[in-house]
Amino acid sequence: MTTLEDRIRVGLHDAAGRIPDRMTTTRSQEPPRIPGWAIAVAAAVGVLVVIGGVGMIGDGRGPVGSDGVVRLALTQDVAALGGVPEVVNSGVSTDGFDPLPEVEVWQWDDVGETGIWLVKAGLDADLTSLFGPTADGQTIRPPGAGHLESLDLTDVEWHALSWKIGDVWYVVFGFDEAVISETAGQLRGAEVEETKVRGEAPVLIDVRQLVPGPPVELSELFYSSSAGGFSVALFRGWPHGVESSLARLGDGATRITVNGQEAVTFTNEVNSWVMWTVDEGSTGAVESSDFDVETLIDIAESVTSVTLGEWRAITGITSADVSSTTLGDTGFAPLADNGIAHLTSAQLRDVSEIWGSMVGIEVTDPDTWGRRVADACMLGAWNAGVAEYLAVEYMSQDLLGGPANGTAMASAMEAVWHIAATVCPTAFPEGALEAGPPTVTNPGS
């Protein structure tokens, strides 16, 4: 009796054998000769990697040109491979694309393994006709700022990441999640000037620091815990562009080595940070408003050289805690200027009313709520421990250090949850919103 696996094996080999040896492709079946350009590329890659990617390709004058425009090489690979982006959509149907007015698309075939696509579009743009149908028939729209999103198209999985400059959104799409993150990290903060993007090699893009504030620069927060005056956090992946982003936030990010591992330090008016790569594509961070960078480095020294598993043991992370939480969406930016979230007037009114109605204390200061919202959304107010920690802290501040009774504390915990749910609902782990605010009997995730 033939097993199913045997039948598949035989059937596939038989079908493969029936595939004609030569198809109507224009490619030769003979082994290719290594072309001269490939040899040159191989040599160039080695050189360029040594040189580095910023501003060193081209006239060699560095990133700032005489016209004051900052120019960055898109990526080392692109420049080295001679990758010239192809304009695949500018409101005109080309190469089989449906025209999408108000949407511009560039394609680099030679970035990563399979290329990337850069889309300039409004967040409300409907990209369905550009990328084909989703598996569940949903409309495709650009993901929120800093939100790496997977698009489950029919038979194909894509990844996308967006950022905003002024009123324009840029979205990078591609197959390779790591390439998308890396490329977006390099592009982020850059204004793409069409004349530079179209067809000039090496590929240069114009970068202008148009935005006084930081770009929305977030990554997926796996875990955060506050204890002993400082916080430790675990992010998925290296927060792309963290150095440039942090540099814009404060005194400048400094690349250091802690216990032999790459790390970045940063200080702003509120917090000091030390961030480093853990492993398995994760980034550890220690942060505090109470300590200077040197003290934090001392703390980091104790946890930098451990593996992710050990890190979890040290910080008490359980699998339930690692909740792949995506920060940032709907314009909320926890890592905003000075660690204070920028709240709209409507958001400020909402959170003030929640706190006032549930706790009975009127607080209207925008900076206070900006800081509290940043904490609630970053640390995870859906977690009972975090909610309690924040409630104690905020009640202490609002009562000027006076004691709060148990009922008031319970209300404050719930209020913190509602505030986070109002401002950053997309940061909640799956099911956490539906589960409601954490209480003693409902501790949340």
Partner: protein, 163 residues
């Protein structure tokens, strides 16, 4: 500066790899994507990229796995670029006339998603282990097993116990 003898070694190593794997991978990609016409182009594209990175790719345990993945992804990109459906029919109009192909099986394989087909082809046509398929497709072995299990389940259902 790259020395001449290094180039020769690189060229020789790649050409041997190309000679061994170009055809099996072209056929594998054709089976996995159902697009026979594009499979050769996809594998050539992936081979070219492998050549550019050959110093690194050749150090892999299975460079052919890397080429298989890149060719599959390139095919997907082509699919999107052309903004059309993948050709799902496996072209079996070959020169063999001594027997008929297993049309029921081919039809059942066609109905699998490309993700499942890529795993099935890697496992049963390229005869890679689940670990090797996982490495080739850059996914977890557990994912390979899961996809394989679902694919076999669907194939068994489609074939209705014919085997």
């Amino acid at each position: 500066m790259i020395e001449d003898d290094q180039l020769t070694a690189t060229e020789a190593g790649f050409e041997a790899f190309y000679a061994e794997w170009r055809e099996p991978l072209r056929r594998a990609v054709a089976l996995a994507t159902g697009d026979v016409m594009a499979a050769g182009e996809a594998v050539d594209e992936a081979m070219t990229r492998a050549l550019v990175r050959w110093d690194r790719i050749s150090s892999y345990d299975k460079p052919e796995g890397w080429v298989y993945r890149v060719a599959l992804n390139w095919s997907k990109g082509l699919f999107r670029k052309r903004n059309r459906e993948l050709l799902t029919a496996i072209d079996v109009e070959g020169s063999r006339s001594d027997s008929l192909p297993d049309f029921d099986l081919i039809g059942a394989v066609e109905r699998l998603s490309i993700r499942h087909r890529a795993v099935v082809v890697g496992r049963f046509y390229l005869d890679w282990s689940t670990a090797e398929v996982a490495e080739a497709l850059d996914i977890a072995e557990g994912t390979v097993k899961s996809r394989l299990s679902r694919a076999l389940e669907q194939l068994a259902s489609d074939l209705g116990g014919q085997s």
